[in-house]
């Protein structure tokens, strides 16, 4: 039988190995996207969630795109739309545009209220990119730490810190 103590020891090794695997160095070769699409996506992901690169967001999206034509179409189409819109506005693609130009564009497509026939494809695309970047980051070791999730481990006794209970009660109607 595997008891909690054995599990505790085993899980440290297992976490370290898994973390190393996700942050392994080396140059990533895109599997589904072109190099330009991938580089653009990676920059976009990092703006959506600062730190997304550490969470492997672009790699996650690229992998799923390589496995699924529907997913691929969302990203190849969306990234092409973004470059076109940037060129029309700033005569540069997204990657080469200045930081301020990038955020100007994103400030338009990051909100439903800006939906016009002209911006609609960009808004739909950004919605996908945001959702999946967030998923990738917060399912990575970096994101899990960042959001403060402290579980998924074997412990001997389950306790609830009194300070957390006091914190919530003080802010509740039961104060």
């Amino acid at each position: 039988m595997v008891g909690p103590v054995g599990l505790e020891a085993a899980q440290h090794v297992h976490e370290a190995a898994a973390a190393a695997a996700t942050t392994a160095g080396g140059v990533y070769k895109p599997k589904g996207l072109t190099q330009h699409e991938f580089d653009t996506l990676k920059t976009l992901c990092e703006i959506i969630v600062p730190g997304a690169s550490k969470g492997g967001a672009a790699e996650f999206i690229d992998l799923l795109s390589s496995q699924n034509p529907d997913m691929s179409a969302i990203y190849t189409g969306g990234l092409a739309w973004l470059d076109e819109a940037m060129k029309r506005q700033y005569h540069m693609d997204f990657l080469t545009a200045a930081a301020q130009q990038k955020t100007e564009m994103l400030d338009r497509i990051a909100y439903r209220k800006n939906r016009t026939p002209e911006l609609a494809p960009g808004i739909t695309f950004f919605n996908w990119a945001r959702r999946m970047t967030v998923d990738a980051y917060y399912t990575s070791a970096a994101g899990i730490k960042d959001v403060g999730y402290m579980g998924n481990r074997a412990i001997k006794e389950f306790k609830v810190p009194q300070e957390a209970i006091d914190y919530a009660i003080k802010r509740s109607p039961f104060a």
Partner: protein, 568 residues
């Protein structure tokens, strides 16, 4: 030339299905020294390999979204990638049909242990009045047994599988043999305060999770993910807790990938063999038996009886009452959640605990007048759960934008949501039943089930009551419920969704009205027993698994006794 044919072994008992019912019968009979063959339609379970216990999403390149990100396109796996079940709402090549105008979903797990590998582990005793509903409110039918009959078997079941809880003295939630339940999480403390204010009992949860070493199984390690399966078996699954240990007695022959097709009877009307499809070779085989126990799940056992037709039983075996397939019910289901501002920015800590709530609300209006019959219990959700695909989709949609402000919104939102799920009693009705679809067979050539399902006002009113109750609790905690105007038909779960199907092969005192006697033995076929949820007369507001285990235990002991006496 001549061929030496060894006569095939005749098993004392053939048990069909290895879930809660079949696992229990296997364990009880093996302990009594009776040799059994256990047929399971799915493959062998290998917990160390199959269960994703303590795995992180980043250990999988798709993080749980499945290959090609299928879950983003509505083709996700029921209960998510990490869940321990083997099966789902649809099985490749094994369809079921639903009558026009009905909606029904049927969840099947084909694996040793069946649905107990992943289920919610909620373990609630039926109350004394649950078993005598007709005597109490004049609706439906009483069970042929009383609480005194089943209570000793609840004791055995709880002692053996291990159930958390506390002595409360509440009539709707009888006390049992309990292990200590871990303390409530922060959001549960707030929920309890709201419940106290509203006069709703909110008590330590009753989960089939062990918090002290039990029969060689170590205590829970509190990773909060029972649904992924527990490698050290600190929660109950029939596979790990009953079938595997029973196999060590040498009395159990487990036959996997064996899809039961038909029960073979002799001229005296007794079952002599079970015909099954060996899935690995797609050939028909037969296994001989002195007695047979059906534990394939309420609906699969029903299907097997209805498909076992012969001279003198043209409408299916054990069906002289004509009621096999009728009286099918599921529990009602309704859920409501909200964000609780008091929980925002809470100091981070590990809130995993057991895989399920640490508190629950038993039905509290059992002695009060309501505008619907019977009742419901309330299950709780919330806490800082392990992030997964879609965990923050709600914040993304609400906050929009990007960058540091989005990250801040996610940080503040994490762990602030609570949810409530009601599970209530459905009254059996004539429009809810299953039968054999004459036009469709599965890939093994076995005729499939066709479901008819209808909720009535009794259930609709109950669900309206749930919505009002949950809204009251949330508002009392300082949360806001987004009011959505939708018809009650859209609020209530789809039949089958709660995966608490019971009742299609009823037990009763009158052989004209029920296929089984009060020991779940067929009135027509004396060596045929049913040990899943099919014999249930009603479907009280308590999840059925604990009662399946208790009744199966009772049936197994009765069967052993009858065998000893030479009656079967």
């Amino acid at each position: 030339m001549f061929q030496i044919t060894r006569s095939a072994p005749v098993y004392d008992v053939v048990i069909i299905g290895s879930g809660a019912g079949g696992g229990t019968v296997t364990k009880v009979l093996a302990d009594l020294g009776i040799s059994v063959a256990l047929l399971e339609a799915g493959p062998m379970l290998h917990p160390e390999k199959d269960f994703k216990m303590l795995k992180w999403p980043y250990e999988y390149p798709h993080r749980g979204a499945l290959d090609g990100g299928a879950s983003y396109f509505g083709h996700g796996r029921a209960f998510g990638f990490f869940s321990a079940h083997a099966g789902g709402w649809q099985l490749e090549g094994e369809p079921y049909t639903v009558a026009e105008g009905s909606k029904f979903n049927w969840f099947r797990s084909r694996i040793v242990g069946g649905r107990t590998n992943h289920y919610g582990r909620i373990s609630l005793r039926y109350a004394d009045y649950d078993l005598k509903p007709y005597s109490r409110d004049g609706i439906g039918t009483d069970w042929p047994i009383s609480y005194e009959d089943i209570s000793p078997y609840y004791d055995k079941a709880e002692s053996f599988i291990g159930v958390t809880g506390s002595k409360e003295g509440i009539r709707s939630a009888p006390d049992g043999v309990f292990q200590k339940c871990p303390p409530p999480r922060v959001h549960e403390v707030l929920i309890k305060k709201a419940a106290d204010k509203l006069g709703i009992p909110c008590i330590p949860n009753r989960l089939a999770v062990i918090t002290q070493p039990t029969n060689g199984r170590p205590a829970c390690h509190y990773c909060g993910e029972c649904g992924r399966g527990c490698i050290p078996a600190s929660n109950y699954s029939s596979s790990q807790v009953q079938v595997f240990p029973a196999m060590k007695t040498g009395k159990v022959t487990l036959i996997t990938d064996a899809m039961a097709r038909e029960l073979i009877t002799n001229d005296e009307g007794k079952v002599t063999a079970v015909s099954y499809i060996d899935k690995t070779t797609r050939t028909e085989k037969q296994i001989k038996c002195r007695t047979v126990v059906l534990a394939a799940s309420c609906c699969e056992s029903t299907r097997l009886l209805l498909n076992s037709k012969g001279k003198g039983h043209e409408n299916g075996l054990a069906n002289s009452s004509g009621t096999v397939g009728k009286y099918l019910t599921d529990n009602t289901g309704f859920g409501l959640g909200a964000r609780i501002p008091a929980l925002e920015g809470m100091p981070r800590h590990n809130s995993d605990g057991m895989g399920g709530a640490h508190l629950y609300m038993p039905w509290w209006l059992w002695d009060k007048k309501t505008d619907f019959p019977r009742g419901y219990h309330v299950e709780l959700g919330g806490g800082h759960n392990m992030p997964g695909i879609g965990s923050f989709a709600g914040v993304c949609a609400q906050h929009e934008g990007y960058g540091d402000s989005l990250k801040k919104a996610i940080y503040e939102d994490f762990g602030t949501h609570v949810s409530f799920a009601g599970r209530g009693e459905m009254i059996p009705n004539k429009d809810t039943y299953c039968e054999i679809d004459p036009n469709v067979v599965d890939k093994y050539g076995i005729p499939v089930l066709k479901f008819h399902f209808k909720w009535t006002d009794a259930e609709y009113k109950q669900v309206e009551h749930m919505e009002k109750t949950f809204t009251d609790i949330i508002e009392t905690m300082g949360g806001t419920v987004v009011k959505r105007n939708r018809p009650v038909e859209d609020k209530i779960s789809v039949g089958g969704d709660i995966i608490h199907e019971v009742g299609a092969i009823r037990m009763g005192n009158d052989p004209q009205a029920a296929p089984l006697n009060k020991y779940c033995q067929s009135n027509d076929v004396k060596n045929l027993f049913v040990a899943d949820a099919a014999p249930f007369v009603t479907n009280p507001d308590k999840n059925p698994t604990l009662t399946i285990v208790a009744l199966a235990w009772r049936t197994a002991e009765y069967l052993a006794d009858e065998m000893r006496k030479g009656n079967v």
